[in-house]
């Protein structure tokens, strides 16, 4: 019997950082093929539609880009937070906070028309940041678990917004539980030549900016240091609490911008189903990107393609549209598993000549114990 031993790598080769996400996406598609089969559809045909329907027309490409923008924003939001080990699972709520702020500003009639779009963007970022600041403060000051608080705050935001939409903020014209539409001047302009709204360009710019911040500035350095080892960072004189708060503000602002894009460029009003899971999808995007801001661009595009293609696929083949959600979940799981190869190198080892086992305790179950195949070694 040959065992697999994992040895820690000194340096992760660059090609692996690209190969691992691609491989995990491929593994995901293979695994999900079983579900497509279960739906009685032809796997190749279903995947062809799922992945290629985006490229049928310029309109479809634009549609995908528009869909990718909030994914990119929330992906960036999550990765900045995760880099600081601030477990922000609350991009969903922060996006909503940004959307509410943007919509509220966009409806104000007393504001000069030209100031609307910039003000929407700034206020969305601000509100998103503030909504993220609360759990970060609880974490830094009171050591309250951030995973739980950010998750719960999503629900609080959702119920709060619904209360507003069914109460004081209900659109008097339509009577539906939606906010009134923003002014026409508050709708985001289209990017010349691309036909997509301003938010898409902003998301791309944000990716570049976040990449620059994380790898080229002292703030990014501090965020990485705190995330990897807060004790060493504190010893070296870095204010750990302040860095976490800063990362939370940046993260929340990015998620808030996703909300601004949805209000200003897509819906023009706040609805309770505005987000539909972009916050959680951001976690998948960030993980698939290996927390690299530039990697978030293809990762967001991939999921935009899948989400857009899923509708077409469902209509054409009868495979439920929720295949997209499954792919998202499976991709995250295969990606965290695959990332192991970035830090460890698998190596086959031949064990010694086996001696008789001394007792009944010596037979480990296939999953538990070191007999299970993967025994990490090294120091």
């Amino acid at each position: 019997m040959i065992r697999v031993r994992l040895e820690r790598r000194e340096v992760t080769p660059a090609w692996l950082q690209v190969a691992i996400p691609i491989a995990s996406v491929l593994v995901t598609l293979v695994l999900c093929a079983a579900l497509v089969r279960a739906a009685g559809a032809d796997v190749i045909e279903a995947y062809r539609i799922l992945l290629l329907s985006t490229f049928r027309s310029g309109y479809d490409v634009q549609d995908t880009l528009v869909k990718a923008a909030p994914l990119l924003f929330t992906g960036l939001a999550v990765l900045v937070a995760f880099r600081a080990k601030f477990w922000n699972i609350g991009a969903e709520g922060q996006l909503m906070a940004g959307a509410v702020a943007a919509c509220f500003v966009g409806e104000r009639t007393f504001l000069p028309a030209v100031s609307l779009v910039p003000l929407m963007i700034v206020s969305a970022a601000l509100f998103g940041a503030l909504w993220a600041l609360l759990p970060a403060l609880l974490k830094v000051r009171l050591k309250v678990d951030d995973v739980v608080t950010t998750l719960l705050l999503n629900f609080i935001m959702l119920y709060g917004v619904t209360a507003l939409l069914e109460g004081p903020w209900r659109d008097p014209k339509s009577g539906y539980p939606n906010a009134p539409s923003v002014r026409i001047e508050a709708e985001f302009p289209l990017v010349p030549g691309l036909g997509v709204h301003l938010g898409v360009a902003l998301a791309l710019a944000a990716a570049l900016l976040v990449w620059w911040m994380m790898s080229r500035t002292t703030l990014g350095f501090r965020i990485r240091a705190v995330g990897h080892n807060p004790a060493a960072a504190a010893y070296a004189g870095i204010g750990v609490g302040r860095v976490i708060l800063t990362a939370a503000l940046v993260s929340g602002a990015l998620a808030g911008l996703a909300g601004a894009g949805e209000v200003g460029g897509v819906r023009f009003q706040v609805t309770s189903d505005l987000s539909s899971g972009y916050g959680y999808a951001g976690i998948v995007v960030a993980t698939l990107a290996e927390l690299n801001p530039l990697g978030a661009v293809p990762a967001a595009l991939f999921f935009a393609i899948v989400f857009n293609g899923a509708g077409t696929m469902a209509r054409a083949t009868g495979v439920p549209i929720y295949l997209a959600d499954v792919i998202q979940g499976v991709a995250l799981v295969t990606m965290v598993a695959g990332r192991l190869f970035a830090t460890y190198r698998p190596r086959l080892v031949r064990p010694l000549a086996p001696a008789p086992a001394p007792g009944p305790e010596a037979t480990p179950s296939p999953l538990a114990g070191r007999g299970g195949g993967v025994a990490a070694e090294g120091r």
Binding site: L142, V148, L152, G160, A163, I327, V336, L340, R370, G378
Partner: protein
């Protein structure tokens, strides 16, 4: 004030116990996982998966108990997947848990749509009916509150002392607690750390899924996409709030259920002129407040979130 008092009748407390059922099961399941050193954030997805599986099997087999069994199996399977990721591979428990929730959620939606399509009115089952305990259910006050409940509710109530007994009074429980506190010590004493953690995750997963199934075949009579709506996350908070003790955890679940029961009553009676969403929000706000209060003396298992790799120090 008077209206408030009239709200707190026997029916209110019976409802409270009913509502606490999924929270009890899920938070005890999470507690077992965390006591072994693994945070299982797959809980929200596992509950939904349990709700879907339990409902679907009950619908087609006509047997609620087969549905329960199926949900238990589904949860155990999900726990096994979490164990593969967090225990065997030892990758980030946060991310793999979220991944499991997304996966289980997507899968629940997918399978439900595949099986039932998009019917005009959602399919439903005849849910569990109360099983009055002979003699005891006739007791005043206590009878209707505790002894005229659904079978799964009894199960959840019994799970509290059962888990406490398992943890504190059995060799298995001692080994499990040791694995969660100091896996190296457990290993040195001949305990298989991976096996213990896997067992905890499998049992915990089954309990979470059972909590979900309660929602779709006992509290309600159908599966809807929003049937769990954050109860899993609340269960995670309850474990922290309960300082990793099954008794305190159960107390937290009852407290949370009381808030929800109150909310339902207020909504029905409309005595307070508050939007019902604010009442829905209330338990979540209270959970965060409660966590902020207990955070100071929160003593998580020392090895929580730390993967165990034998030859690494």
């Amino acid at each position: 004030m008077e209206t408030l008092v009239t709200l707190l009748d026997v029916g209110f407390f019976a409802a409270l116990v009913r509502i606490s059922t999924p929270l009890l099961l899920a938070s005890l399941g999470e507690l077992l996982s965390e006591r072994s050193g693994v945070l299982n954030l797959g809980i929200e997805g596992i509950m939904l998966f349990g709700a879907m599986t339990g409902f679907t099997v009950a619908y087609f087999s006509g047997s609620l108990w087969l549905g329960v069994l199926a949900a238990l199996l589904a949860g155990a399977l999900a726990g096994l997947l979490m164990a593969f990721l967090a225990v065997v591979l030892g990758v980030s428990q946060h991310v793999s848990g979220i991944g499991l929730t997304l996966l289980a959620t997507g899968l629940s939606f997918y399978v439900y749509r595949l099986v039932f399509g998009q019917p005009a009115s959602p399919p439903n089952v005849v849910p569990f009916r109360p099983w009055p305990v002979p003699v005891l259910s006739d007791l005043p006050v206590v009878g209707p509150i505790l002894f005229n409940q659904m079978p799964l509710t009894y199960l959840a109530l019994l799970a509290v002392p059962a888990v406490a007994f398992l943890l504190y009074r059995t060799p298995w429980g001692l080994d499990l607690r040791t694995v969660g506190e100091n896996p190296r010590a457990a290993d040195a004493a001949g305990v298989n750390v991976w096996r213990m953690r896997t067992q905890a995750l499998v049992i915990g997963g089954a309990m979470m899924a059972l909590g979900g199934a309660y929602l779709s075949i006992s509290q309600f009579n159908a599966f809807t996409f929003g049937v769990v709506s954050g109860r899993g996350w609340v269960a995670v908070a309850l474990v922290v709030f309960g300082l990793w003790s099954p008794w305190r955890c159960a107390a937290g679940a009852l407290l949370f259920a009381a808030l929800e029961a109150l909310q339902l009553r207020l909504q029905a009676n409309n005595v307070l002129h508050v939007p019902y969403q604010v009442l829905l929000m209330l338990p979540f706000v209270m959970t965060i407040v409660a966590m902020a209060i207990v955070s100071r003396n929160a003593r998580a298992p020392a090895a929580l979130l730390v993967p165990y790799r034998k030859e690494e120090r």
